[in-house]
């Protein structure tokens, strides 16, 4: 066995950093189907997992890939898959199964440009709303957006920790540029990395109820074969895990699925702020667009504009409270993203008419020219 944490400085791509983050986080099962630009995550997992006693399976398609990580998760291991646009679409039904059965797992989407096959080798951020609402039904999940290979390492660990703590699929919404660019990635000592594992049940096995929530609203999770009564179904189920076709069971289940996320927003939502103290024009950004956004903020400051940047590390659940508070004091929001305004609309919703949310539309395929963002900042300041 080789060490799981490759402590030291490395010059690697975001995809490889993502795989290293997963292994450092304790991921020991990876099932995937290769697709540009996420293939390198699978390649690296295939190379690394046998070293650390893990299992890699190349599945027949993305439907099977996500099914495999849900099943493996119930055997007690931390699991991940990685894909891009078309594969992400195929995963949507079983993503809902993961949410409904409260199965911890991480799904990496190295976004490319859609719709459909789109520009397979080029970047995009067009799957942000699909990440939130792609599966049917009403639900909550968590999505995180890294901006660099270094982020890919840490944010994948964060994704695992949140996934285990809240028993929910967590999406790492990277993109082609972040996935394929090479930068320095510092991997710390294993003991400096905080890891979270799913709550385990205690007490009498005959009185165990599979979905009886703990103090933070999350039910302890046994592995199959440990002797607890485990019935896992996508049908509406009661606290025992048995199908129950009643309005009451649906209400109880939905309250738990929503509550464990909505009641722990402070712990789940991670953001960063840059030059926000006196900012009256605020860029709201995530993923690769944070970098072009920061370039534009620096330029704008040089020209005397009071620009700042509010970075969403956690995109879902959306930091509604902070946007609401900011809307009361800022002049405008500027939202650069590699789609024609998905998160812009979310900012607009939370700003509630108190400040405009101005998009910097880009169809994907490349990043924003920082000058275009700067131009929008200037217009917003007028």
């Amino acid at each position: 066995m080789k060490p799981a944490v490759r402590t030291g400085s490395h010059y690697i791509t975001g995809d490889v950093a993502c795989a290293e983050g997963a292994i450092a986080a304790g991921c020991r099962f990876f099932g995937a189907y290769p697709i540009t630009p996420a293939t390198e995550v699978a390649e690296h997992m295939a190379e690394r997992l046998p070293d650390v006693g893990g299992t890699f399976i190349q599945m027949e398609d993305e439907i099977a890939a996500i099914a495999s990580i849900l099943g493996a998760s119930w055997t007690g291991v931390k699991t991940m898959t990685a894909t891009s646009g078309p594969g992400f679409s195929l995963m949507m039904e079983n993503l809902g199964l993961g949410v409904c059965t409260e199965t911890p797992c991480v799904i990496v989407n190295v976004q490319r440009t859609g719709p459909s096959t789109g520009l397979p080798t080029q970047t995009g951020q067009g799957d942000m709303m699909q990440a939130r609402w792609g599966s049917h039904g009403d639900y909550e999940l968590i999505a995180i957006a890294p901006s660099s290979p270094q982020d890919c390492f840490y944010h994948t660990i964060l994704a695992f920790n949140l996934s285990e703590k809240y028993r929910v699929p967590v999406l790492v919404m990277a993109d082609e540029i972040v996935g394929h660019m090479s930068e320095k990635v510092v991997i710390p000592d294993a003991k400096e990395i905080t890891l979270v594992s799913r709550p385990k049940p205690k007490g009498r096995k005959d009185r165990f109820r599979l979905y009886e929530p703990g103090p933070n609203g999350v039910a302890p999770m046994p592995a199959i074969g440990e002797g607890y009564n485990v019935h896992v179904t996508g049908l509406t189920h009661d606290e025992r895990g048995y199908p129950s076709m009643t309005v009451e069971a649906q209400e109880q289940m939905m309250a738990r699925l929503k509550g464990k996320i909505r009641n722990n927003l402070d712990d789940i939502i991670h953001t960063e702020e840059y030059l926000m103290e006196d900012a009256d024009i605020v860029i709201v950004s995530y993923g690769i667009s944070v970098r072009t956004g920061l370039t534009a903020v620096d330029e704008a400051r040089k020209l005397g504009y009071k620009a700042g940047l509010f970075r969403l590390i956690t995109v879902w659940p959306f930091p509604e409270g902070r946007i609401k508070a900011l809307a009361k004091k800022v002049k405008a929001f500027v939202v650069p993203e590699l789609n024609l305004g998905q998160i812009r609309r979310e900012v607009e919703r939370c700003a509630f008419g108190r400040a405009p949310a101005i998009g910097v539309p880009h169809c994907g395929g490349w990043v924003h020219d920082p000058d275009d963002i700067l131009k929008t900042i200037k217009e917003a300041a007028r």
């Binding site: 400085s9 490395h10 010059y11 082609e176 660019m181 090479s182 930068e183 320095k184 690769i288 920061l294």
Partner: protein, 210 residues
């Protein structure tokens, strides 16, 4: 900040050039280096390139906008990328593989027969390392020590020594060329009293090496 583009055709090790340079500055020269590569069907066999942005501070915008250094190892790549080179930029090219067109006045041009040097060393596969050495000597944006330290892990272990030799070959050639350029500049600054003989020192550099 330095913006560099390595270019050639798929198979020459152009992406590797970017990776080695990016790793060298990031891990051993204490700077920030972001490497991106052309990626797609157009990259295989025809013009292909990798880009490195080097900076003292964190690199935000990941791509080069107006490169100040263009390294070209094929005619296609040279013709495709030359127009984006800054007006005061540096063009570094393989003298046997690229035929220069009339250049903009302020662009500095440095040539090396990197593929031929590599063939003389036994295998043209080392051409990119000769070119990297030459680039390091000429451009001075990254130290030779850092570049050599960056090689393990990016070239096969059993060929590490040969790769280092190829690198040094190109590096020495670059340093010599710069020294010669400096001498000539000094000569121009202080013109000799008698005009030099017309035949004096006309041997082209590649002949001089053989």
């Amino acid at each position: 900040m330095n913006e560099i583009r390595f270019s050639g055709y798929g198979g020459q090790g152009i992406i590797r050039c970017g990776l080695i340079t990016g790793k060298a500055v990031s891990l051993f020269d204490n700077k920030f280096g972001t490497m991106t590569q052309s990626f797609g069907p157009e990259a295989r066999g025809s013009a292909c390139s990798s880009q490195v942005v080097i900076s003292e501070d964190r690199v935000l915008y990941p791509y080069i906008t107006r490169p100040e250094i263009l390294v070209s190892m094929s005619q296609d790549a040279y013709e495709k990328y030359e127009p984006e080179l800054r007006a005061d930029g540096i063009l570094i090219y393989d003298t046997d593989l690229v035929r220069l067109k009339p250049l903009r006045a302020q662009i500095k041009v440095y040539g090396v027969p990197s593929t031929r040097f590599a063939e003389e060393m036994g295998n043209r596969i080392f051409a990119n390392l000769v070119m990297l050495g030459f680039f390091t000597g000429i451009s001075q944006v990254v130290s030779a020590e850092a570049m050599k330290k960056a090689l393990p892990g990016l070239v096969p272990k059993r060929f590490l020594e040969l790769n280092i030799r190829a690198f040094e070959k190109g590096y020495d050639y670059g340093i010599e060329l710069l020294a010669k350029e400096k001498q000539e500049a000094q000569k121009e600054a202080k013109p000799p009293e008698k005009p030099p003989l017309p035949e004096a020192k006309k041997t082209p550099p590649r002949k001089a090496k053989q």
